[in-house]
């Protein structure tokens, strides 16, 4: 990985502020009554933060190879399989 120009410093601080702001946002959003959307909002904000950390702090965006991104995507895919296929059982049980 080549050395980053100093403009990347601005980027890092910008991401940092955004992450802190999102944390405040998610706490505030939790205090609103959005019914079933509370979960969606919380997870969306969390995912947005995670993507920022992964892309910019972990340098996934500038990764020299597609392979790195593939590793991340593949792991998340299999995690999704675990969650979704397990839920295919729990969500379709007709008894409590």
């Amino acid at each position: 990985m080549s050395a980053h120009p100093s403009s990347s410093l601005k980027l890092y601080f910008g991401i940092w502020i955004t992450l802190l702001a999102c944390t405040g946002l998610t706490v505030w959003a939790a205090s609103l009554d959005l019914g079933p959307f509370n979960v969606a909002v919380a997870l969306t904000i969390a995912t947005f933060k995670a993507i920022l950390v992964a892309l910019f702090f972990m340098h996934l965006k500038g990764a020299s190879e597609k392979l790195t991104k593939l590793v991340v995507v593949a792991s998340l895919f299999f995690l999704l399989i675990l969650l979704v296929l397990s839920m295919s059982d729990y969500a379709t049980r007709t008894w409590s």
């Binding site: 050395a3 940092w16 706490v27 939790a30 919380a42 392979l67 590793v71 995690l79 675990l82 969650l83």
Partner: protein
């Protein structure tokens, strides 16, 4: 996992089985990302468990979650975010040959990581005092379900919440401790002047690990603390 035994003398830490430094660095990078992939699955089992029970016992879990201290949780989130910043600044410092800044940021990361663990310790202590630790002394009586003031939460279901809370945050804290260990080692190496713009792979790799642990917390915070926080 990076395999970077630092050899002395003229050779800049190139290991014999690699043809060139770039290959060594690419191998370390792929190795660390693959390892983080395994960590996603490791925590993933816990997220699956969480998902199943949250669906089943939403009200009881809301009541249990509300007894966690949001201020401490949010503070810890901010602490970790700041530590991710210091980590990425440390990597930048290593790449631009700024030794003092590198060491400073590594130390700052250590301080912030320790602060996180300290706050976690305070939270655990509070849980212990309130008898929210699962086991024989667990108590969760007469706690109303948020939004249903006429219903009490089922203590057994709440006990499952707290069991998962301790396992998930405990496992996360264990990873933090390992991370602190790694960064202590990095600080010592940096102080000895081992990292240059040509060779700073361990700092980058340690950074990747630290950011990953941060990302786990980014998910743990809303999932554990913010289930049902509206008045």
């Amino acid at each position: 996992m990076p395999d970077s035994q630092l050899t002395a003398a003229h050779n800049p830490a190139l290991l014999h089985h690699f043809a060139e430094p770039r290959q060594q660095r690419d191998a370390a990078s792929l190795g660390m990302w693959v390892f983080l992939g395994t960590e996603i699955m490791f925590f993933g089992g816990l997220f699956c468990t969480y998902l199943v029970y949250r669906r089943a016992y939403f009200g009881d879990w809301g009541a249990a979650s509300k007894t966690l201290d949001v201020t401490l949780g949010a503070t810890n989130t901010a602490v970790l975010i700041c530590s991710s910043l210091t980590v990425v600044l440390a990597v930048w410092a290593a790449q631009t040959c700024r030794r003092k800044l590198l060491i400073g940021n590594l130390l700052a990361t250590l301080v912030l990581g320790t602060a996180f663990l300290g706050i976690k310790g305070i939270e655990y202590k509070e849980k212990f005092e309130k008898h929210h630790v699962p086991g024989a002394s667990f108590q969760f009586n007469n706690v109303t379900i948020p939004g249903h003031p006429d219903q009490y939460a089922n203590p057994s279901h709440a006990e499952i919440f707290f069991a998962l809370y301790f396992v998930m945050t405990g496992l996360h804290a264990l990873h933090m401790i390992v991370g602190i260990g790694i960064f202590i080692w990095l600080t010592v190496m940096a102080w000895k002047g081992r990292f240059t713009p040509e060779y700073n792979t361990p700092v980058e790799m340690g950074g990747l690990y630290w950011h990953f642990v941060d990302i786990i917390w980014i998910y743990l915070f809303p999932l554990l603390y913010l289930i049902d926080r509206h008045p």
